[in-house]
Amino acid sequence: MIDTQSNAAYYSDMVGWILHLLGLPGVGRFWQVAIYGLVGVAAGLALLLVRISNAASYLSNAPETCMNCHVMTDAYASWQRGSHGRVTVCNDCHVPHDNILSKSAFKAMDGARHSTIFMLRKEPQVMHLSSGAVPVIQQNCVRCHSDQFQMIRLSDSTQQTCWTCHQNIHGDVHGLSASPRELRPALPQAGIDLKKSGE
């Protein structure tokens, strides 16, 4: 019901792609879920080229996993201090919650892209949501807040997103340098930490 076009597009892409890949039309729901879940992880793995530990943790829900990449620390800092810091985790907003299929698929895709860019050191100084991310997030806003609207039609479209007005979800200023060092989280341990031996 959100931004029907890009949503439809998103699903046909995603599902169509995976179905085509595995050619499993009409298998039982349980198997679909299971297999697609794995495919998601596999795709993530294939493209991630990182150790299982990281891949797995990337797919977890803990905001700390996002902190595996320091380029995420500003988003973390702004989230943590926003009114949502107490009531949500990143994935409440950033991944679809309609069904596990699209959830893991979306994660795999994003995770893959992000890690590749990260390792290529191609991350921009100031990030923007990818077009695919916008409807997903808005849908999540509505998922939690729908009972607070009376026929608010804006929520049916992303011509104006929730954060067009509620600009402070991640604070007023965006970018890798947005939040001062003091507000940033210490980077979490991740598997065998090369950091110490590196110093």
């Binding site: 009972d147 607070q148 009376q150 608010i152 804006l154 479209s157 011509q159 007023d172």
Partner: protein
Amino acid sequence: SVSIMERRWEAQRPILVASEIGQWESDNAKWGENYPRQYERYLMTQITDTQTKFGGSVPRDYLDDDPMQVILFAGMGFSKDYLQGRGHYYALEDVTHTKRLATPFQAATCWTCKSSDVPRVMHEMGIKEFYASNFYDLKDQMTHAIGCLDCHDPATMKLRISRPGLKEAFTAQGKDIAQATHQEMRSLVCAQCHVEYYFAKEPKNYLTLPWHNGMGVEGMIAYFDRIDFADYTHPISKTPVIKAQHPDYELYSKGIHAYRNVSCADCHMPYRSEGGVKFTDHHIQSPLLNISNSCAVCHRWSEDEIRTRVESIQTTVANALLKAEEAIVQAHFDIAAAMQANVADEELAPLRKLLRHAQFRWDYISASNGRGFHAPQEAMRILGDSVNQAQQVRVMAARLLAKAGITDAPAYPDISTRQKAFDVNQAFIGNTPIRLIK
């Protein structure tokens, strides 16, 4: 606790449609049975005593505040009665009481933007016939002021364009209003009325938006020149003047907010939450009377900071308006002086044309609401061009007067009060012009 339960219930309550709304329902109260929150807020447009530095619901008298406008509109309705608009609730009352509608001018077209009975009556009579009628012949049918039916489809509550004028203006530009996005509709419903317009001669008094060459001031002037339209001939300078009326949507379109897809409704109908539900505030008014909901969501500055900034933007425009008026008024007298010195009309033609352009530019900003806030830089651009053109007219007039042997400046009459200005007009209208040259 009970109250919490109540709030939850309220919040989740589906919009129960108590009674069907007829397709021509012009009585807001009927709609209100289904949508009490919106109706209650709509009723607040009855408030008529709020005031901001330049706006508010109190009907300001432009002519008392600024006698120069009496001269600028000499001889036509706006020099007799010109107030600032107030709440939608009063649209009918005000259009029937304004002195601007004195005989002979009684076009039914004036009803178009004042009542939610209009769509029905237009449907029954036909659009052409509606416009062509006499204002007073339709009076009995116009019983409800602006209301739900003007902006909403009663079946779906979707926003809807109920007035033909805007649709036709889109078509004239080769655009299809049906393609408008939902966010655009949040402004277009307003653009049905908050736009510059004129009454075509043929079909009789047909409501037309002069957008054929674009919505900008240059485009409108080009269009009015092409069709050689004038609202009146100025009795002092014999200049064919175009009166601008509230080009609110047009000016807004040039501003940064339109550029960023911020709609009229975003500011004038901000969301409001009551008892856990969030809905559109139908108390349409000056956003400066509701800054915290209107502006502050997007601009996280203090209310004072927001108000102060808006007022300084508006004050800048207000001052520039006065400077342009001064030049235009003097230009009218300069031309009149040249006429008294028997300068030929052919020689005055280019001056009158330039003055016509200067005054329309000024009026484009003066008549648009919000004192230029809707597009601060554009407002100053247009006023700069206006004053420049008016002064150029004065340079040319001085030279023509010189050729006619007049080397002194005209003796500009005293127009320091509304009454004095009015008397000056009467003198010129009554062909007993005040002597401006020795």
